[in-house]
C-alpha cells in the first residue's frame, strides 16, 4: 500500500484530479461535483490541522537534540520547550479567557508589535544605502522618494503643501502603472506555472525529482 501511495505518477494524477474537482464547479453547476469539491476542501483543512502536530514534533526533536548536546544557547531551547508545553496546557483550559489569552495579549502581541516597529529602522537603513545618486535612474528614485517622504511626513506635509500635488501625481500615474504591470505579469506567470504543474512538468513542487519521475 505504502509503495502505491509513493508512486510518483499516482501523485501527479491525484494532484490533477484534485485541481479539476475544485476548478470545475466554478464553471459547471453539477450538484455532485459541488459536494465532492466541498468535501475535498474540508479534507484539506483536516490534513492541515494534523500538520501542526508534525511541526510541533519537529520543534521538540530539534530542541531536545540541542539540549542533549548542550550546544550553545541550549537553555533558550529548554525555555522554549517549557513555554510550548505550558501554552498547550493553557489552550486546553480555554482560548477565549484565562492564562492563554493573557499570554497572547500581554506577551505575544506586544512582542510582535515591537518586531513590526523595528521594521522602520530596517527601512531607514535600506534607504540610506539605496538612495544614493550614483546615476540618472538612482537620482530620479532619490528625488521621487524625497518628494513622497516630505508629503507623507506629518510636519513637512502640513507646512510645505507644494509637495502634495507632485506626490499624488507620482502615486496615481507612475506608481499605479508599475503596480498594474506587476499584477498583469504575475497573473500571466501564475497561469503558465499552473499549467506546467497540472501537466506534471514541475514535479519538484511535489518533492519529486525529474530523474525520479
Amino acid at each position: 500500500m505504502a509503495e502505491i501511495l509513493k508512486n510518483k505518477q499516482l501523485q501527479i494524477i491525484v494532484m490533477a484530479l484534485s485541481f479539476l474537482f475544485v476548478f470545475l464547479p466554478y464553471f459547471l453547476n453539477v450538484p455532485q461535483l459541488n459536494t465532492a469539491s466541498t468535501k475535498l476542501v474540508t479534507i484539506c483543512s483536516i490534513v492541515t490541522a494534523f500538520t501542526v502536530a508534525l511541526a510541533v514534533i519537529a520543534q521538540f526533536r530539534r530542541g531536545m537534540n540541542i539540549i542533549n548536546r548542550r550546544s550553545r544557547g541550549w537553555y533558550f531551547k529548554a525555555y522554549m520547550l517549557v513555554t510550548l508545553v505550558l501554552m498547550l496546557g493553557f489552550s486546553l483550559m480555554g482560548r477565549d479567557s484565562g492564562p492563554y489569552q493573557w499570554v497572547m495579549f500581554a506577551v505575544v502581541n506586544p512582542l510582535s508589535s515591537v518586531n513590526y516597529g523595528i521594521l522602520a529602522f530596517y527601512m531607514a537603513s535600506t534607504a540610506a544605502r539605496a538612495f544614493r545618486a550614483r546615476n540618472t535612474k538612482a537620482l530620479m528614485l532619490l528625488v521621487s522618494g524625497f518628494i513622497v517622504l516630505m508629503y507623507q511626513a506629518p510636519l513637512t506635509g502640513a507646512y510645505f503643501t507644494g509637495f502634495e500635488p507632485i506626490s499624488i501625481y507620482l502615486g496615481s500615474t507612475f506608481s499605479m502603472a508599475a503596480g498594474r504591470m506587476f499584477l498583469i505579469s504575475v497573473t500571466v506567470g501564475a497561469i503558465v506555472f499552473g499549467v506546467r504543474v497540472i501537466l506534471g512538468k514541475e514535479p519538484s513542487v511535489l518533492g519529486i525529482s525529474k530523474e525520479e519521475k
Binding site: C44, V47, T48, T51, V52, L54, A55, V56, A58, Q59, R61, R62, N65, V108, L111, S112, N115, Y116, I118, L119, Y122, M123, S125, T126, A127, R129, A130, F131, A178, G179, M181, F182, L183, I184, S185, V186, V188, G189, A190, I191, V192, F193, G194, V195, R196, V197, L199, K201, E202, S204, V205, L206, G207, I208, S209, K210, E211, E212
Partner: protein, 240 residues
C-alpha cells in the same frame, strides 16, 4: 493561454528566453557559500499552497540539489503562519529527495529545516537569530513573505550574505529591490522552475508568458488611444 502553453511544451521548440539575473545568481551564491564554508539559507515563504509558495518550492528544490552537490549546509526556516504548516512536510520531502538524488542522503539533516513558530513575528525572530548565529554565505528568500521580508533582507545584508529575494506584492518589491542584491520581479519567480530546468519543453513554455505580456501592453496602448479619442470600447471589454 493554457492551450498555447501545452502547444509549446509538446513541440519542445528551442526558444530564446531572456536572462533573469536573480535566477542566474543562485548558482553563484551557493558556489560562493561553498567556497567560504558558510551555509545557505533558503526559505519558501509563510503562506499556504499558493503559486508563490509553489514557485518558492521549485527554487528550494534547485538550491537543495546545488548544496548537495557542493557539500554546503542548507538551512530552511519554516513556519510563520498557520497555512505554512502544511507546506513544511513537502519542503522536507523536497530537500530529502534532492540529497538522495545527488547520492548524499547521509548529509540530509531534518534539524536544518527548523520550525520556528506559527506566528509571523516569532518566526522572524528565529529566522533573524539563525542568520546572526550562522552567518550564511547566501540567503535566498522566495515565496510569499509579508512585512517580515524586510527584516530578512536587511539582516542578510548586515551579515554580508548574497541576498536574493522575490516580492509577492508591489510595495514589498519596491522595498526589497533596495535591500537585496538580486530580486525576482513579477512572473520571474513562477518561471524559475522552468528557467532553471534543462528541459526545452519547459523553457519553451516561458515564451507564452512573454507573448501574453506583449499582448497586455498592446491592449493597454489600444485602450489608451481609444479612450483619448472618446471611445470606451476597450474599457467596456475589459470591465466584463
Amino acid at each position: 493561454m493554457a492551450a498555447l502553453v501545452y502547444y509549446y511544451i509538446k513541440t519542445k521548440k528551442v526558444v530564446h528566453i531572456r536572462r533573469v539575473p536573480g535566477l542566474d545568481a543562485i548558482e553563484e551564491a551557493v558556489g560562493r557559500s561553498a567556497e567560504m564554508g558558510k551555509p545557505v539559507i533558503c526559505s519558501f515563504g509563510i503562506g499556504g499552497f499558493t503559486y508563490w509558495t509553489l514557485a518558492g518550492l521549485a527554487i528550494l528544490s534547485h538550491v537543495a540539489h546545488l548544496t548537495a552537490k557542493t557539500g554546503s549546509r542548507l538551512i530552511v526556516p519554516t513556519g510563520g503562519g498557520d497555512q505554512a504548516l502544511i507546506v513544511r512536510p513537502v519542503a522536507e520531502e523536497i530537500v530529502k529527495t534532492a540529497y538522495t538524488m545527488e547520492g548524499v542522503e547521509d548529509q540530509y539533516t531534518p534539524d536544518d529545516l527548523p520550525f520556528y513558530s506559527g506566528q509571523q513575528y516569532a518566526y522572524i525572530g528565529g529566522y533573524v537569530g539563525v542568520m546572526q548565529r550562522v552567518r550564511p554565505g547566501s540567503v535566498i528568500m522566495t515565496g510569499s513573505h509579508a512585512s517580515e521580508a524586510m527584516n530578512i533582507a536587511e539582516t542578510s545584508n548586515t551579515v554580508g550574505a548574497i541576498t536574493i529575494t522575490s516580492g509577492s506584492y508591489i510595495s514589498n518589491v519596491a522595498a526589497l529591490a533596495c535591500a537585496s542584491d538580486y530580486i525576482l520581479i513579477g512572473e520571474e519567480a513562477p518561471a524559475a522552475g522552468a528557467y532553471l530546468s534543462d528541459d526545452p519543453a519547459q523553457r519553451a513554455s516561458i515564451r507564452v508568458q512573454d507573448l501574453f505580456k506583449w499582448l497586455a501592453i498592446a491592449v493597454m496602448i489600444l485602450g489608451l488611444a481609444a479612450r483619448s479619442l472618446g471611445n470606451d470600447l476597450m474599457l467596456r471589454l475589459l470591465a466584463t
